[in-house]
């Protein structure tokens, strides 16, 4: 067996520095590129899967190719997490933090020619608040009580209780605006105000976009046409880029991205990755024991997991936050680094026998090569401390049911919304504070529920906010029902060598309005 502890010792000591440095290094090329002079043309994009539908409120990854090209959101975030205007020119949060007033742009029209105004925002708020129609926005709308159209360019949104600023901006950054006349048919027919309009779609084969001639952002989109080709195989998309058949690959595998980067192709890693989390069902078997769970903070060979599962593209984390997330704290990756001695101490403190410690199975997503690889890394690591487990391979609906109904001891699963307000973490099943499908009701870790509540109710930007975040981080590693290992990017962008001018999206969606060919 190899000993990664020694090999990666230096990396671990520098993890905090690298955590910040890497994100800057990865983001920097995008900013540099966007500052370059680019000219238009036809952008040819390769994706691996077709879209699910045109509803921008459904954030399936496959839809991320189109959402920010056909639609605009009320606010946007810079890669560093600073809220900036988009369809809303400005926003004013009330002194009591119980409402926000949005001032909207007056020069925006939907693709249909209908004007964008406060009524359109109200119609979208209504859709988002509908449990059947709201899709991924529905949970975010839980803080909203009601809204008032003040005038055609102003809308006030009232909250149920005081809401922290970041949670408010998260809501409006999430909210892409659909033409009210097209809300009922948006799954089949796009109805946005974005930089591009749908020109053609051949299901399973290609999507063509044409520039919106009336787009409100001056000089954009740079490229007049976009041709998106759906490749079923990552290798085919890679070959197409290398042969000059496409200009961009979006959402390919990290293994291919790593190889193409080594071959000199620019790889853009956005600020909104997922975090891989070793999810533990703390209501079952040896995982009821807190010390046993805490040992897993040190049993995760994160460097190996990142390398095997994600070709080294991403970064090591011990908390479920992206570096751009407000609660991100790189020191935890050092404190809770892979360390078999510390793990053995905690295992001894658990009082469990070797047989009890081995009485569980690791469920594995058999259809995901990264999951199969990293699960075998964990299996081999556990064997070194005397824990012998079997892998329980599952796929498709069986896997989904197992995950969502909590019928597992432990499994790996990606967690999203980790670059947003910290309590957004609770939208992921294992981290839910109420109706948790894995841990059940009442929640077995009330200290975690209290820590989320404290984050939700701590207003302002002062030390009390940081204290709330620190408390949440401490509780996360102590309760240890989720052991984060690394960030990884589902929406990695690999480009041809002549393509530039990318705008990085906070959710790693594909944004093409500033993209073109270098002059």
């Amino acid at each position: 067996m190899h000993d990664m502890t020694h090999t990666f010792g230096l990396v671990r000591r520098l993890a905090g520095t690298l955590a910040i440095g890497l994100s800057i290094a990865l983001a920097a090329p995008a900013r540099d590129v966007s500052a370059q002079q680019v000219s238009g043309g036809t952008l040819r994009v390769a994706v691996i899967a077709d879209i699910a539908n045109f509803d921008p409120h459904q954030f399936s990854f496959v839809n991320a190719t189109l959402i920010k090209n056909l639609y605009d959101s009320l606010l946007e975030y810079t890669p560093e997490g600073k809220a900036i205007p988009s369809l809303a020119e400005s926003w004013q949060i009330a002194p009591d933090s119980k409402s926000v007033t949005l001032s909207l742009r007056k020069d925006v029209k939907f693709h249909s020619g209908a004007p964008f105004n406060a009524d359109a925002v109200a119609a979208n708020l209504k859709k988002a608040a509908d449990p059947k129609l709201g899709k991924n926005l529905f949970a975010t709308m839980s803080i909203v009580d009601n809204w008032t159209v003040v005038d055609p360019a102003t809308i006030r949104v009232n909250f149920k209780s005081p809401v922290p600023e970041r949670q408010i901006t998260d809501l409006f950054q999430f909210m892409t605006i659909i033409d009210p006349a097209g809300i009922d048919t948006v799954e089949q027919k796009p109805a946005g105000s974005g930089a591009y309009m749908l020109a053609e779609r051949v299901v399973g084969q290609r999507i063509k976009l044409a520039a919106n001639p009336g787009y409100w952002r001056s000089g954009q989109p740079v490229s007049k046409d976009v041709e998106i080709t759906i490749f079923s195989q990552d290798a085919a998309a890679t070959a197409a880029l290398e042969s000059g058949g496409v200009d961009i690959i979006y959402g390919g595998t990290l293994r291919s991205a790593s190889r193409l980067r080594q071959a000199g192709y620019p790889v853009l890693d956005g600020p909104g990755p997922l975090v891989q989390v070793f999810r533990i069902n703390s209501t079952r078997g040896p995982f009821k024991n807190a010390k046993f769970r805490q040992a897993f903070n040190h049993l995760m060979d994160r460097e190996s997991i990142l390398r095997v599962g994600y070709a080294g593209l991403g970064q090591i984390v011990a908390l479920p936050w992206a570096p751009s997330g407000p609660a991100f704290d790189p020191s935890y990756a050092q404190t809770y680094a892979f360390n078999l001695d510390k793990a053995k101490d905690l295992l001894a403190q658990s009082g469990l026998s070797p047989a009890e410690m081995s009485a569980w199975k690791l469920v594995v997503n058999a259809g995901s090569q990264p999951d199969v690889g990293i699960s075998q890394v964990v299996q081999a690591t556990l064997k070194r401390v005397g824990i012998n487990i079997e892998l329980d391979m599952k796929e498709g609906s069986e896997l989904v049911e197992t995950m969502l109904q909590g019928r597992f001891d432990a499994l790996f699963g990606g967690v999203g919304n980790i670059q947003k307000f910290p309590s957004r973490l609770a939208t992921n099943s294992i981290y839910r504070t109420v109706n948790n499908p894995v841990l059940g009701t009442p929640h077995p870790h009330p200290e975690y529920v209290a820590a989320i509540e404290r984050v939700n109710t701590t207003l302002g930007t002062g030390p009390e906010v940081k204290a709330a975040y620190d408390n949440l981080n401490k509780v996360l590693v102590e309760t240890a029902f989720g052991i984060p290992t690394n960030t990884f990017d589902q929406g990695v962008i690999v480009t041809g060598k002549t393509v530039g001018g990318f705008t990085l999206d906070m959710d790693n969606m594909l944004v093409l309005r500033t993209t073109g060919f270098r002059k």
Binding site: M1, H2, M4, T7, A235, R255, R259, S304, R307, V308, A366, G367, Q369, V372, G373, Q376, V377, Q379, A380, E390, L391, D392, M393, E395
Partner: protein, 290 residues
């Protein structure tokens, strides 16, 4: 007929006299030895050396390393153990179920023959891979489940071959004579007819071994075979194809091992059939293939 050690030796010599069959025998013998004594070679198919993952062939790793830095040579050798053990178990299981079915159906005829053969026809109508997938879905993923799934798909072949042999021997004088002396049906079937039916059954066992190895590899390739980290050629092919650009040996070598093994079993089966049945250009029925 193989009635004695002398006869077996004679048949083996006749098979070995055919160059292709001899090469197949040598290959399979070497593979079996390697698979049996793999543990004594000091190779560990599970040891991870992630720093050296996806390396090409080197002195330390003659076949290179896989995505977890494991020795591909070790995994190919231990994969042979998996494939051969699964194939042997599956073929024995198929013969153990299929031969008695064929014996009873052929011996008694009538409604028993009709019922048993319709069941066999039903099994034959289902593509082997589909049946195996369905069985795995019920039994779960494990080596035992793969063995049972592969074995069940071979049952119809043995049943039909055994039935055909019974029908050809049932009215022969030596069977009639035994029955005239008061032999029971069981005695006639298992002590009189079966020993005289071994030639085609043995041929089918060899030929079906190649089918079983292929089917087990296909199940692993589809991700429903033997679960990791147990080495399996099919699983290595499945994973290795993702890394063809980085580490070509990862998929090519297990693929080569699989191809050569199937070719060897097939060649041996054909030679055995030719020798045992006294025909020069016999192509044994492959029965229920994936």
């Amino acid at each position: 007929m193989i009635g004695s050690l002398e006869a077996a030796t004679h048949i083996a010599a006749r098979v070995a006299a055919r160059p292709a069959a001899l090469a197949a025998l040598v290959f399979l013998g070497a593979l079996t030895l390697l698979a049996t004594f793999a543990g004594a070679l000091g190779l560990d198919p599970l040891e991870q050396d992630i720093v050296r993952m996806l390396e090409g062939p080197s002195r330390d790793y003659p076949f290179g390393t896989d995505e977890l830095g494991r020795d591909i040579l070790a995994r190919v050798i231990f994969g042979a153990r998996t494939s051969l053990a699964t194939a042997a178990g599956a073929v024995l299981l198929a013969a153990a179920i299929g031969v008695p079915i064929g014996l009873v159906a052929g011996f008694f005829g009538g409604w028993r023959d009709a019922v048993l053969m319709r069941v066999v026809d039903l099994l034959l109508a289902l593509p082997g891979i589909m049946m195996a997938l369905a069985l795995i879905a019920v039994l779960g993923r494990s080596q035992a489940a793969a063995l049972v799934a592969v074995g069940i798909t071979g049952v119809p072949t043995f049943a039909r071959v055994a039935r055909a042999q019974v029908l050809s021997l049932r009215r022969r004088d030596f069977v009639t004579a035994v029955e005239a002396f008061g032999a029971t049906s069981s005695y006639s079937m298992f002590r009189t007819i079966l020993p005289n039916s071994w030639s085609p059954i043995l041929t089918q066992m060899v030929v079906l071994s190649s089918v079983a190895i292929l089917l087990e590899a296909a199940l692993s390739f589809l991700g429903v075979g033997i679960p990791p980290p147990t080495p399996s050629w099919g699983e290595m092919l499945r994973t290795g194809k993702e890394y063809l650009h980085d580490a070509p040996t990862f998929a090519v070598l297990p693929g080569l091992a699989l191809t050569l093994t199937i070719l060897a079993f097939d060649t041996l089966g054909r030679a055995l059939s030719t020798v045992l049945e006294g025909r020069d250009t016999v192509v044994p029925a492959r029965g229920n293939q994936p």
